[in-house]
Symmetry: C2
Subunit: 316 residues, 2 copies
Amino acid sequence: MKEVALGIDIGGTNTVFGCIDSEGNCLVTGSLPTQKHEAIEDYLDELFVEVESAMNGSADKMQIIGVGIGAPNASFYSGTIENAANLRWKGSIPLADLVKKRIDVPVIITNDANAAAMGEKVFGAAKGMNNFIVITLGTGLGSGIVVNGDLLYGHDGFAGEVGHMIVRASGRECGCGRKGCLETYVSATGVKRTVYKLLARHMGDSELRDVPFSRLTAKMVAEAAGRGDLVAKETFTYTARMLGEVLANVVAVTSPQAIFLFGGLTKAGDILFNPVAETLEKQLLSIYKGKIKILASGIEDDAAVLGAASLIWNKR
Amino acid sequence: MKEVALGIDIGGTNTVFGCIDSEGNCLVTGSLPTQKHEAIEDYLDELFVEVESAMNGSADKMQIIGVGIGAPNASFYSGTIENAANLRWKGSIPLADLVKKRIDVPVIITNDANAAAMGEKVFGAAKGMNNFIVITLGTGLGSGIVVNGDLLYGHDGFAGEVGHMIVRASGRECGCGRKGCLETYVSATGVKRTVYKLLARHMGDSELRDVPFSRLTAKMVAEAAGRGDLVAKETFTYTARMLGEVLANVVAVTSPQAIFLFGGLTKAGDILFNPVAETLEKQLLSIYKGKIKILASGIEDDAAVLGAASLIWNKR
């Protein structure tokens, strides 16, 4: 009988789960559409049928010792999902309690950036680190902050909203209803917006002039930069410098050992990482200079599920 | 025999000490000039002669169970003072070890803002709070951040430099060698600088036009504001709004229950506190709105010594 943690990542489109052993091996995995059921109870029923069926189909005999869940708007303290804009279940959903009714083991829920940070600590490149930050760069910008070896939740469970630090007064409109939030600049969406700003400002040729806003992706911008497109290159420099500047301020608050960049946008590689590291180093208060590493995530596959499962393994 | 913690506050001019019981009563107190001795050993010899003499002069029989020290550039992890600009002892001073040679009890050292934060938790208005921030407003701006009930030190012991978050790119010159740090705006010195900026910008009468920069104090500005001086009033509004803006970003990182304002500048009262609270509330991300209190420190007398002693009592 092998002990495993069940990791569940609830995304806006799909839910992915996996049974993860203490070494970070994913023994079985599976998925289902998140939005099929109007009632959370029906969704969970189907999810646990899938989990059982996946486990029965495996040669390994497993025992689930805990369930870790990454979900949007997840509240760690209350075990609830709170008014998630991109899920069908409205209001406050007592997710942890509902899961515990189906399997009586410890259930921990948190948001995806916190799960990513814990995944990095338990299974990834942050092993042995007790003070670090993970910045997730996807459609938006998430952050998971580890201090004294534990996730920083703060008083109400919602610490780590670095993406909503205001970095430009009266700046770009943000989905949160305010202006100038970091994620309006530093994210896949932010990259698109910067491309259009630069296309408006400059006269020079760019292959990006042929792409409508609605079809443009950060990946296309990264590829154009790789081919030497000046607007695309300047876009990444601008994005990275903005991130480096803000990280210098976050360092002044939390003094981490390293900052990990994680998510789709990081596939851009050096054109993102190098100017982030350079700007950070230049902007840092002297007592921090030369001490803070900018690193790539050490988790490749099944990152979301590993992160969710790590919430359980970190407590063992 | 009454158990006490010896609290020591090492300031640039004076060193103050006190024997503090578990209730926060200061049983004996004393002081000596910090800069009299060139050698740290001679300074500590005199300090402990003073402590012993003060204790012998008291009717209470006391036993020191630990020594807490607040000092500039103090490193919690190494127990050292590192290159303090305003002390005579240069380089790295192994303060905790030197104290332990004289009295073999636990010795904890930290900077004065961290000591103030712990003092608030153990003896002040933050009793029972596990996630809060103390902002000390003196010549500069210090910060002590408590998360999960403990001081946030970060990887190297130097977390909590909110005063050195850069808030205006290419802004005011800071003593740290960079530009635009929060403490160049929000501190007693920042208030002076803002007065002069406003006197340059505006044409109107102000009693502050008669005071040279070198003689101007934040207290004079607060008093002028109390008499209705427009430049003085606008100075406090500007200062408070800048602080409120930055605190909204700090909240997005750490999600505290409350933020305490501490130190000389807070004597200005409502003209400081009200616009800080209003600006913070306006700038906060919606999930934090209505949740974060801006409060005055609950410690009146002997704050520095109580803070230093609280480092010991918090661990009991």
